[in-house]
Amino acid sequence: MDAWRIAWFTVLCATGATLIVLPPAVVIAWLLARRTFPGRAVVETIVSLPLVMPPVATGLILLMLLSRRGPIGRVLERFGIDVVFTWKAVVLAMALMGLPLLVRTALAGFEQVNVRYERVAATLGASPARIFLTISLPLAWPSVLAGAVLAFARGLGEFGATIVVAGSIPGATRTLAVAIYGYTETGRDSDALVLLLISVAIAFAALWSAHRLVERRPA
């Protein structure tokens, strides 16, 4: 039984996905919180899409973009990079599904930061980038972190998009959620139960820490 290997692989992928999605999500959240620009509503909608679309549909879109015949996959193939049916696809699916949660939580965090701090920093000569890094981000950090934990937890449980774009290849792309599905479909209920308990434990730890961080956020 390679339950621990599957759990470890899933945690690694979810961690990688969270790290990949963190910088763009934080920038998007900040832009949505502080700037008005043309196409704002479009950006907001696109970012939320993975939340409202069936995960299988998200997976199919990823698959069509990244397969060897797809517009992105064709370019990547030229550099010898295969994404579909590899751990990279797992990470990507998790990242995409976590994006809306991270953006929304971080957005709420940035909105809570008093604009006055940023304005005063500007009058003190700080560039927009410096204001973002020294004022906005540190003050919104608890929310950003809570969002990251949520995205991580979402990645742990990701099934629909993962099984489509990464498949269920034992030892290569099998995550906890995908393996649980596989085990129940083949009648290995006790194996599924072990993975289920591991998932519950990891998810509980992740969500508990998110909850604590949100609670400690300044009012």
Partner: protein, 262 residues
Amino acid sequence: MEPAWSVALISLRHVRTLVAIPLALWIAAAQGLPAPKPITVSAAVSLTDALTAVAEAYGREGLGSVRLNFGASNVLARQIVAGAPVDVFISADEAQMDVVAAAGMLKEGTRVAIVHNQLAIVVPTDRPRTFRGISDLTNPAIKRIAIGDPAAVPAGVYAKQYLEKEGLWDAVSARIVPAGSVRAALTAVESGAADAAIVYRTDARIALRATVAWVVPFDRGPRIVYPAAVVRTTALPTESARFLDFVRGAAAARIFERFGFR
């Protein structure tokens, strides 16, 4: 109370260590992947155990290495049509193989039937009964009959076909509970939510709290076939054909039989 910013800074430090270790291990793991290129076989999830054993035997004989991808046949078919890098497709039914064929994604002349399955009627182990035939389903004591959803699940399609052929569909259709998969139908019986289910014989074999009441004989029931074919876009046509040959061979047949297929 500790001010929030100090919590934030502590957390930032934690994140750094939390991230550095898995990342290093991850990179190490990625570089340790095996070098020779295996063929990728997408197979119906119900074949998981049997095909894993077949692929192991294939590797033991030094014929090549196989990467197995298991899923619901309709998902696997959609993956192939969308351009997923699959070399061999083994479907749980002809319909999903037809979907791939219609998209022009099968290599001509490679489509073969590899294993057969049978329908079986299962009942809860704590309420065992033996059927003399399919018409026993009309027994009023059987209030709920779980089958795979005939609109989507191959096992459900077969079950409905068979009931119609035997002229029983109208008599029992009010008691039919469609389930999302053949496993879900089996679980309905195991949990006692249904009094009987029509599932594959292979599923009935491994059920813990359901027993087989009757197996539909080969000559009476629907022809249940797992078709296989090489995908047209494969980069490894020779290796793919070699694996298909092996799957149809005598050694593989013995393994499939061990898992209840014929």
